[in-house]
């Protein structure tokens, strides 16, 4: 009996450790971009705009510039922010899951690593959504499906122009690119 209990506990610990170690890979994904930094950003931005479903760009952040302002260097990072009111609205309406607004707007990170390659980092919206009940799971599943479209590149189309956000004149806290409202 004692041996069976010990085996059960060891099994749980092993599963827990495996889950713990795999979690980062499950929650986030990373892939190499076939394009340079700016072209990757531009192609994703244009894919977002062409996806429909209420998606709109809501910002483009450059955290590396902030580090430079502080006198340091990091390799380039650009974060595309996008939002769809179609998906954000049901979550923001429901008090029990409103805290998930912390995940808004949807972010895609494009960065260079020391191997000189450009990478695209995304969150696994589908898996994350499943943790918060059926409604969020359904919404985030749709977000995940659209996210795949954002990262579908057609090398035969010419490189589009990168969209740099308009800086708000004053007071506004988020640069708007035309209706990323709700996020």
């Amino acid at each position: 009996m004692l041996k069976a209990l010990a085996g059960f506990i060891v099994g749980i610990v092993v599963i827990g450790l495996t889950g713990w170690m795999l979690m980062p890979q499950l929650m986030f994904s990373e892939r190499v971009s076939p394009f340079g930094m700016e072209e990757t950003v531009a192609r994703i931005q244009h894919n977002i705009q062409n996806t429909g479903n209420g998606w709109a760009l809501s910002g483009l952040r450059n955290p590396a510039r902030a580090v430079q302002g502080d006198g340091g260097n990091v390799l380039p990072v650009l974060m595309i922010e996008a939002c769809s009111t179609q998906y954000s609205k049901p979550i923001l309406k429901e008090d029990t899951v409103r805290f998930l607004s912390i995940l808004m707007p949807c972010k895609i990170s494009i960065y260079k690593k020391n191997d000189g390659k450009v990478y695209i980092g995304t969150m696994n919206a589908g898996l994350m959504g499943k943790m918060f009940g059926p409604m969020v799971g359904e919404v985030m599943g749709k977000v995940a499906a659209d996210q795949k479209k954002f990262l579908h590149f057609d090398p035969n189309t010419p490189a589009p122009k990168m969209i740099t956000p308009a800086i708000p004149a004053s007071g506004a806290s988020i640069p708007s690119l035309g209706g990323g409202g709700g996020c």
Partner: protein, 550 residues
């Protein structure tokens, strides 16, 4: 209480947010003019002469040479000094390879070569009037003092004027609608001073035909760099000028891309003014064991690794991308109206220009690393080439075993340019000119190559094609703060920075298979020993318990 906390939080968030968002909007200035630093220069100057009080300068001037004559009335030897330098002759005889180099003789894979394009290229000559082969290199009034000593920022030498500034207001670039004001030469002459970063940068930041194009570690962001970009030249730090390292004597500026000092272990730190020693190396100030006792292990790297390798982790970090490739073979396409056109890349940089072909730009570039001993061999006009291979326009020599080489970071610039299919030699195109044969006027390669080769005194069979070429540029500026130097893991880890450098054994990255096998065998035997020992003890203990019970 709650309200004030919320306000404080909101304010805090805004303060965090604003620098990030505004950083996206801030783009460095890209005009090739010196900064208007007249007031600052005057305030900071230690000069014992106020040129505005000089009688010879208290007048208006109609041309650059007139100004030079006034300068020479006091600085009697200055022009003769300048005329001995590479900045004037555009010639350099490499004592080791015996190759005759200098802008006058080399061919590169950017704008290619000077012959037949003098009026355009000599915008960066320290002289006036070099428009063809007949230029008088002995005339002292042809020396341009102002280009190096202007402090007003109003003096520019535009391409196409054979080294003269524009004496009339001029639209530049042509058809752009932008007007470059003619400088007030008298005002410029009365405000001369020591050369600033902007003076040197007016040419060296724009090499290859535009901002940041050629070097990768020199661009207009270095005019007033921040600490993160260059610890030596930072405007809010040491504020070095170019001349602080390239300590000039008799107008001769030390430092060379034709014969660089790859290793300065012999001389180390030395006093300024010592002859025949390059004062612009890192070791000239920092010595050969530059790290403190606490980091002494790093000093053991210094005999094989150039300082730049660790301390310039990336180049083109100032927000201005550098050109990484240039394909001349696609130049000459015209739009449906028969007009030349340009295409931009995603970042808004030229990706195609009918006049020049296809380009690729990149910023924050991770350098390539090579063994380099300071010897550079050039492919010149008379060098025979194998068009099936990538032609190295300048071949950096070096090896892990020659005792002279260090591992250096470089920018590798690739391209395609014309060569003669019969003679197997590089060709020089006549690109700029108001005549019918210049490529930028008629987009006819045959005419452009015929005229270019005639001017260069070379042979052209009439049959040409394009060959893949590459150039190497040592990376030595844009020194990052020490906290941003490469860390150990970036070389000693898997897929490290030095993976493509031959002849290296790097602990942590590399493995000896026999040593590894021996180590694993010992570990396995130890594990087996522990299991056997434990098992035996367990069995023996069981037997003892069983015996006692009986």
């Amino acid at each position: 209480m709650f309200i004030s906390t919320t306000r404080a939080l909101t304010l805090g968030l805004m303060l965090v947010y604003l620098p990030i968002s505004s950083s996206l909007a801030s783009t460095p200035a890209t005009t090739p003019t010196a900064m208007p630093v007249q007031a600052a220069a005057k305030a900071a100057t230690h000069s014992t002469a106020d040129h505005s009080k000089f009688e010879a300068l208290k007048k208006s001037f109609a041309s650059g040479p007139e100004v030079t004559q006034a300068c020479l009335s006091c600085h009697t030897e200055a022009a003769r000094q300048v005329q001995k330098t590479k900045h004037w002759t555009w010639e350099f005889m490499n004592p080791e390879t015996k190759q005759r180099l200098g802008k006058k003789h080399v061919i590169n894979n950017f704008c290619t070569a000077v012959p037949s394009n003098y009026e355009f290229c000599t915008a960066c000559h320290v002289g006036y009037g070099w428009k063809d082969e007949k230029f008088d290199f002995t005339a002292q009034e042809n020396v341009d003092c102002l280009v190096c000593h202007d402090t007003t920022g109003s003096y520019r030498k535009l391409p196409g004027l054979a080294g003269h500034p524009n004496y009339q207001d001029m639209e530049y670039p042509p058809h752009s609608g932008k007007v470059v004001k003619a400088p007030n030469l008298g005002e410029v002459a009365r405000n001369v001073g020591k050369s600033s970063r902007a003076n040197c940068g007016a040419c060296h930041f724009y090499g290859g035909g535009g901002d940041a194009v050629k070097h990768g570690d020199l661009d207009s962001s270095m005019k007033n760099p921040s600490q993160y970009l260059d610890v030596h030249m930072a405007k809010d730090g040491l504020n070095f000028t170019c001349g602080t390292c390239h300590a000039t004597a008799g107008h001769d500026v030390p430092g060379s891309r034709y014969a660089p000092t790859a290793s300065d272990e012999k001389h180390g730190a030395h006093m300024r003014g010592k002859k025949d020693v390059n004062p612009a190396t890192c070791q000239a100030c920092h010595g050969t064991r530059p790290h403190s006792a606490k980091l002494a292990k790093l000093n053991d790297h210094a005999d094989k690794i150039a300082c730049q390798t660790c301390h310039i982790p990336e180049f083109a970090r100032g927000g201005i991308p550098t050109k990484m490739s240039w394909d001349w073979s696609t130049a000459g396409k015209l739009d449906k109206d028969g007009k030349p056109f340009k295409l931009k890349d995603s970042g808004g940089h030229d990706a195609y220009d009918s006049k020049k072909g296809d380009f690729k730009y990149e910023d924050n570039v991770i350098p390539e690393y090579i063994w380099f001993n300071g010897k550079v061999n050039y492919t010149l006009l008379d060098t025979k080439l194998d068009p099936s291979q990538v032609i190295r326009i300048n071949h950096f020599e070096g090896s892990p075993d020659d005792g002279k080489s260090k591992i250096w970071p470089i920018k590798r610039f690739t391209g395609k340019q014309p060569y003669d299919m019969v003679t197997n030699q590089l060709l020089i195109p006549h690109t700029y000119g108001k005549d019918d044969s210049s490529f930028w006027s008629n987009f006819n390669w045959d005419k452009a190559l015929t005229t270019g080769m005639q001017a260069a005194g070379g042979e052209f069979s009439g049959k040409f094609a394009f060959v893949a070429t590459e150039m190497s540029w040592p990376i030595t500026h844009m020194v990052a703060p020490k906290t941003d130097a490469l860390n150990c893991q970036q070389c000693h880890g898997a897929n490290g920075r030095l993976d493509k450098v031959p002849g290296l054994y790097i602990p942590g990255r590399d493995a000896n298979p026999w040593l590894d096998k021996a180590g694993w065998s010992i570990a396995l035997l130890t594990l087996l020993g522990v299991i056997a020992h434990g098992g035996l003890r367990y069995l023996m203990a069981g037997k003892r318990t069983h015996g006692e019970q009986e």
